[in-house]
């Protein structure tokens, strides 16, 4: 039966169905370490698949791989279309997902009741499945369905912080309501587009839209555009629609914060890429419509406002959460420039921020694991007690700042380059640079507390976090340093993605 089966041609769908089936089977893994080990295995396999897929995409002559589900022609059925952009995001999501799963074991053991670990990891793996699915699909409605899978799982995962702090519940509910409104807007936007085009396939939709006479004054298309932008803004926590994010990331279980910060909003941004560039096309989104202005203003305001807010936080996780909103601002600012370097910077920052922020949330989680809280007071003097954890945190922080030889620098380089190249967009460059100063300010509060102040209370007695937490943390931080020193891989991929996104424009 298996002789006709080959892995490589089926990679796009394997990336999604493996975690789907694996996630369901997680429930059957009983108690103890079984579910965790299984989830690790599944995410590891998925990661391997994404690596293979990346190779395939790079080798493909057309620059993309198309997979027609059920073998139906793509305009009628559902198509998976993987180009450099989504292969890269898939790699990011699966990679970070895998490492976070490795990390999760200890902190989940402590934060989630023992008797529902199997359900927890099932939801966990399904969340990754949903995120990967959004990334790989080429069908507008399929995006919505998978978006809802990832959202539902994320609501549940966030709410699982309830045993540590009851605010996890309100955070989750608020996210649920805003997220559903956002998703509904997206659904509505897709509906409007479908009304005009009669199709759901993204490429097809683009062709049909391009064929419309006088699209710029087509009121249905305009409203669809606006509502998609709003919905996506909510989903990717674009300032000022980010209200749900800080609380959710702060009170979610540590492992969940690490996973979400690295993947969930990134996939939101990926959707924005697809809708703005692939469906509407650069010409419509950024030339005919003032999307670049709206997005860059929102992003710049986000960078500044949330940067200042982050400086004022005492809770490390909340600080990181605000910082995440700011960093998303970088990404949005990058693609709102709509030139090659800006978009490439934005793509590469998706990856870079995922590894850096994932690693930092892991470090905050390790502190939570040892101390039960992670505020500035409790981390006093921790530089000596938990040297590896704090070093990871600081290294990640330097990345956020954008110090050279960290991954953050690469993104910043591209972004500033893009901003200088775009006409009249130099204020974006200025904001990007000022934003990194704000990052210095909030990172340095931690450095000062951890290294230059004397420990008090229980933090004088703690020891380094267990290896199973420190190792994954350093894998991500190490990646952020590695890709800061040698960014040829990430740089080339993102340039390629940027060129294909911009090249597809009418």
């Amino acid at each position: 039966m298996l002789d006709a089966f080959e892995i490589v041609p089926n990679l796009p769908v394997l990336v999604v169905t493996t975690p789907l089936i694996g996630g369901i089977l997680t429930i059957a893994m009983g108690r103890g370490k079984g579910p965790w080990a299984w989830a690790t295995l599944i995410t590891g396999v998925v990661f391997y698949f994404t690596v293979l897929l990346m190779q395939q995409v790079l080798a493909a002559k057309t620059g993309f791989i198309s997979y027609e589900l059920g073998n139906w022609p793509r305009q009628w059925g559902i198509e998976y279309r993987v180009d450099a952009l989504n292969a890269f995001i898939l790699l990011t999501v699966a990679g970070v997902g895998f490492v976070t799963t490795l990390y999760a074991q200890k902190s989940v053991e402590k934060e989630i009741p023992q008797d529902r670990h199997n359900f927890f990891y099932a939801v966990w793996v399904l969340a990754i499945c949903g995120l990967l699915g959004i990334t790989v699909t080429g069908d507008a409605f399929n995006v919505y369905v998978l978006l809802e899978i990832s959202s539902l799982t994320v609501y549940a995962l966030i709410a699982m912080g309830k045993d540590m702090n009851r605010q996890a519940l309100t955070a989750s509910l608020r996210y649920l309501i805003l997220g559903s409104v956002g998703a509904s807007f997206i659904l509505l936007g897709i509906g409007y587009l479908m009304m005009v085009t009669g199709t759901l396939n993204m490429e097809d939709m683009h062709d049909r839209l391009a064929a419309l006479p006088d699209i710029v004054h087509h009121r249905t298309v305009l409203v669809a555009f606006a509502f998609l932008l709003c919905g996506l803004g909510l989903k990717m926590a674009l300032f000022p629609l980010h209200m749900w994010l800080p609380k959710a990331y702060t009170y979610a279980p540590s492992a969940v914060s690490a996973l979400l910060s690295a993947t969930a909003t990134k996939v939101g941004i990926y959707m924005a890429f697809r809708f703005l560039f692939t469906i509407f096309g650069v010409g419509f989104s950024f030339v005919a419509m003032p999307a670049n202005l709206v997005l860059s203003v929102a992003a710049c305001a986000g960078i500044l406002v949330t940067g200042v807010t982050a400086v004022r936080q005492t809770n490390l996780k909340r600080m990181l959460a605000y910082s995440s909103v700011g960093q998303l601002g970088y990404i949005v600012a990058g693609f709102s420039l709509a030139n090659v370097h800006g978009v490439a910077g934005s793509v590469v920052h998706i990856f870079n921020h995922a590894v850096m922020k994932g690693g930092m949330f892991m470090a905050a989680g390790a502190i939570m694991y040892r101390l039960g809280r992670c505020d500035l007071r409790s981390i006093r003097g921790l530089g000596k007690r938990m040297p590896l954890t704090m070093a990871a945190f600081v290294a990640g922080g330097l990345g956020l700042v954008g110090f050279p030889l960290t991954a953050g620098f690469i993104s910043k380089w591209y972004l500033v380059q893009g901003a200088l190249e775009a006409p009249h967009m130099w204020p974006v460059a200025a904001v990007v640079l000022v934003g990194s100063l704000l990052a210095v300010a909030y990172t340095w509060r931690v450095v000062e507390a951890a290294y230059f102040q004397e420990p008090e209370g229980e933090s004088a007695l703690v020891t380094e976090a267990p290896l199973s937490m420190v190792a994954p943390m350093w894998i991500l931080i190490g990646a952020s340093v590695y890709f800061g020193v040698s960014a040829t891989f990430t740089g080339e991929i993102s340039m390629r993605a940027a060129k294909s996104l911009l090249g597809g424009a009418p």
Binding site: L433, W444, E448, E454, S486, A487, G491
Partner: protein, 525 residues
């Protein structure tokens, strides 16, 4: 990705890094740790000095322009981490590595004498800072320069905040804040701007990188001017007013740090970068032609005078030295801004000359603090009798600052005056003369006090130093009696004697430095 090529400039980078690793491993055994520090410093000097003959050789310059740099890693497509030896960097590396040995000896005495905490961190960060300095000195392109520039800021931050007191942390914030703000907002913007306008060319080369862009009109004079401003204010380490405030703030650090880093390595890194940008990125010829750098003379001149005036009113010895440093740094900048071959030589020489003098002064200040726990100038009455060697060295350093023969300061000032004459810049002449007078006015009274004013009555003295709180209260409980002290521990005395001697020797045997500076000049079109 990374080439493990054993070339000397790479070794110069790796040796301090390896040293830092070994020091951290040897952290538990202080003697071993300090031995490792000394050994590392020695080996580094050996390696760096070994490169000098090649740079001084005839025809070096011709080959320099063509020779590819040593490429370490491709950070972005087309952007390499690249090392390349050139005369200016050679000079800088020589100064830093030779003074590191003396400073290490000094540190041993100082840190032990003052019972400082976290000594291992101190030595590790020191070695890392030296590694950054080496990278900076041998940087082959703007990007590499920026990388090590930022690395230097980061590695010196823990040294400034070393004490961990609220005061230290706040000062360290100022330090980091100003240096990072300037470098990120201006310098990085300038570098990326350069990258954009030159189409990805950031390699240091004689005559600068902008000529083609200027020729084909993609870069206009106003933009060039903006870029120049970005660079000059981006290099915060050069302490051009008004971004000089980090330097006095950094004085909370232990004295060895102030001595080597904030008199030599870090601040010199700043002016070194300025010089390198002017010579290799813009090119003096371009700057002269487009006239975008003229303002720098006035700003630097103002900095010299204002900083000197501020120094005049400082009672804290280290702060006075710090403001003196601010003003001396602008000597280098003003010399560079004159844009003549001779003035460039003067700038390069002043980097070296000032280093020897200023480190001596800081050593002396630290020596006084270690032995007598005095930090204020007003407390120094008659101290010359108790600490004759220290104060003698201090006197030599002061003379060098003023620029009197037979000290190092005279050599560079002589070249500067020559350059002033040559380029017909009366403003600079006035500044130099006024500044020399001011230098004398704030250094000589200290010497006078130390040697010719009688010591005050002992009962005024106790706990004076702990009351001011600046430098902690260590030592008061360790058997030092404030009014019954002699010289500082012997490593301190040895170190400061050596540097004082070097200041004088530089006057007589400055061939090496002048040779390197001339190499630099010979390359200018």
């Amino acid at each position: 990705m990374i080439h493990f090529d054993v070339s000397p400039q790479l070794l110069a980078l790796y040796i301090p890094l390896l040293g830092a690793l070994l020091i951290s491993l040897a952290g538990r055994w202080p003697n071993l740790r300090e031995l490792v520090t000394l050994l590392t410093a020695g080996v580094l000097l050996y390696v760096v000095a070994g490169m000098a003959p090649a740079v001084l050789a005839d025809g070096f310059w011709a080959s320099f322009a063509k020779a590819p740099g040593l490429k370490l890693a491709e950070v972005l497509p087309g952007v390499w981490l690249e090392l390349k030896v050139e005369p200016l960097g050679m000079l800088f590396a020589l100064i830093a590595s030779s003074l590191w040995i003396l400073n290490s000896i000094y540190s041993i005495g100082y840190m032990r004498g003052n019972h400082e905490k976290n000594q291992t961190r101190f030595y590790v960060c020191f070695a890392l800072a030296i590694a950054s300095v080496m990278g900076l000195a041998f940087a082959g392109n703007l990007f590499t320069l920026f990388v090590f520039y930022e690395a230097l800021t980061l590695t010196t931050y823990p040294l400034v905040a070393h004490k961990g007191s609220a005061e230290a942390i706040r000062s360290a914030r100022t330090y980091l804040g100003i240096l990072v703000v300037t470098s990120v907002c201006f310098l990085l913007a300038g570098i990326i701007g350069t990258y954009v306008f030159t189409g990805g060319d950031m390699t240091f080369r004689p005559g600068g990188v902008f000529r083609r862009a200027l020729a084909d009109g993609s870069l206009t004079a106003p933009t060039l001017g903006i870029l120049f401003v970005l660079y000059m204010y981006g290099i915060g380490k050069a302490a051009l007013m008004p971004v000089h405030r980090w330097l006095p703030a950094a004085m909370v650090a232990p004295t060895p740090v102030s001595a080597l880093l904030h008199a030599v390595a870090v601040v010199k890194a700043g002016v070194f970068t300025v010089l390198k940008v002017i010579v290799y990125v813009f090119g003096p010829a371009v700057l002269v032609r487009y006239g975008v750098g003229d303002w720098l003379i006035y700003v630097a001149g103002a900095t010299i005078l204002i900083a000197s005036c501020i120094a005049l009113f400082q009672d804290n010895l280290k702060r006075r030295l710090a403001y003196s440093t601010v003003s001396q740094l602008s000597y280098v900048i003003i010399a560079a801004a004159l844009l003549s071959p001779l003035s460039i030589t003067a700038a390069a020489l002043h980097i070296a000359a000032h280093a020897f003098g200023k480190i001596t002064l800081f050593f002396a200040a630290g020596s006084i603090y270690t032995a007598a726990h005095k930090t204020e100038i007003s407390q120094l009455d008659g101290i010359g009798r108790r600490m004759p060697i220290t104060m003698a060295a201090f006197t030599i350093g002061s003379l060098s600052m003023i620029g009197l023969p037979p000290t190092a300061g005279f050599v560079s000032k002589w070249y500067l005056l020559q350059a002033t004459w040559e380029t017909d810049a009366p403003f600079v002449l006035v500044v130099v003369i006024l500044s020399t007078l001011l230098n004398a006015a704030y250094f000589l009274p200290i010497v006078y006090r130390a040697f010719f004013v009688a010591e005050a009555k002992p009962h005024h003295e106790p706990h004076q130093s702990s009351a001011d709180g600046n430098f902690g209260d260590h030592g008061d409980h360790h058997g030092h009696d404030a009014h019954d002290h002699g010289e500082a521990p012997w490593p301190v005395v040895v170190a400061l004697s050596c540097t004082a001697l070097a200041t004088i020797v530089f006057f007589f045997y400055s061939d090496l430095a002048i040779g390197l500076a001339n190499q630099l000049r010979s390359g200018l079109p």
